[in-house]
Amino acid sequence: MNSEILEKIKEECRKLPDDVSYIVGFVRKQGEPREILRVLRPGEIDRLSYSPLSSSNPSRIVMDLAKSGKVAVIAKGCDVRTLKQLEKEEKIKRERVYIIGVSCPGVIDYRKFRNAVKFRLSEIESVELVGDDVIVKANGNEQRIPFNELIFENCLYCEQPTPKDCDVLIGEPREGRTDFSDIEEFEKLDREERWKYWMDVFSKCIRCHACREVCPICYCEECLVDPSNLAVSPMTPAEEKAAYPRVLGKTVSASDNMVYHLMRVLHHAGRCAGCGECERACPMELPLLKLERKLKKVVYEVFNYSPDEEIPFLSKLDILPEV
């Protein structure tokens, strides 16, 4: 199945407009079936690869490259929504990006994949999604695993598997759905149970900032909480550097980690496309998307703001509830 998609992608890449200088796509990693984002030149099309493990969101790379030239990108539904959000915030000019949209049936969670597969990662030759099964081929024999056992949990609640505004679409469109049943389920717990759950989650956080650095819309040079860089220039006066508003420094504890994540998530209100990069990147495998999806639920239900609006959520002030 995905070998057909790969053929179509390659075909599209050969017919790219000639002012495209970069192609951002997936390349198979050496020694394991993982798909890595790579910036390729138009001449290197045969290095491209595509499989249900092509889960990363290329928007971060497209945002940097689009500054200096036209970029073609192989993008799934959630990636295109991130690109659209970055376009809304004037970080990307739409005419600088040539989007090859791929209708996405959901991606595989590599952690579930590694636990379920019985071969050594280095032996695996191909991972194919055929119908509802994933077929893993390795030195001669084959393992068939139901897709819903490997699917990245977030993709079950995908709102837009088919890219909306793209230059060319591959694969037949699929319907998304807005469903917050998992959040409603969690909100049934009483307050102390919820607090205990999140304290247990955040006690494992090691504040490595992978969730912040991989997030395509967390592009601030300097963060309020535990900054890993400061926007300082030789002309910055000493008083300004001395009076930096430091909400949180480097102290690590379950409650401090919660302040870090609350502040990070709060800034994604109405902007997060739900691509799941943060949860995939977290080395301690924390359920970070739960917070993002709760905020998305508030943005949709309390403010009834729809992400397809042109005006960014933060500047829309006529949608305040009366309460």
Partner: protein, 138 residues
Amino acid sequence: MFDPKIITFACNWCSYAGADLAGTSRLKYPDNVRIIRVMCSGMVNPGWVLRAFRQGADGVVIAGCHPGDCHYTVGNYYAKKRYILLKELMKFVGFDDERFKLLWASASEGKLFAEEMTAFTEKIREMGPQEKLRRKIE
């Protein structure tokens, strides 16, 4: 008897003036309320609210002008939006979100300001000290 620490971000044009009015007309409100004057309630960063709780505040109030009379026309709308977002997240993670309050009080409502502060302090006094977000490394 537990003596709560309440931090109030009062907007300079309305609530801070309201607090002044309460003072000049000798209206009593508890002195655990520490007022931080900000130019507009829209200026209050949710990070400061979380930082206040982290430094040991037991209650935080953002006081601003009524919707419509903001000196900068839309400041209090931003404040309200951030307040709702932060409050919802606090509920979700199980933090006692009653400790975080948004109050509209104009320059002439000194009495309202004093009453609200007294009621809020009493409620926090009942709830007891805030241990959840307080910094743990003492």
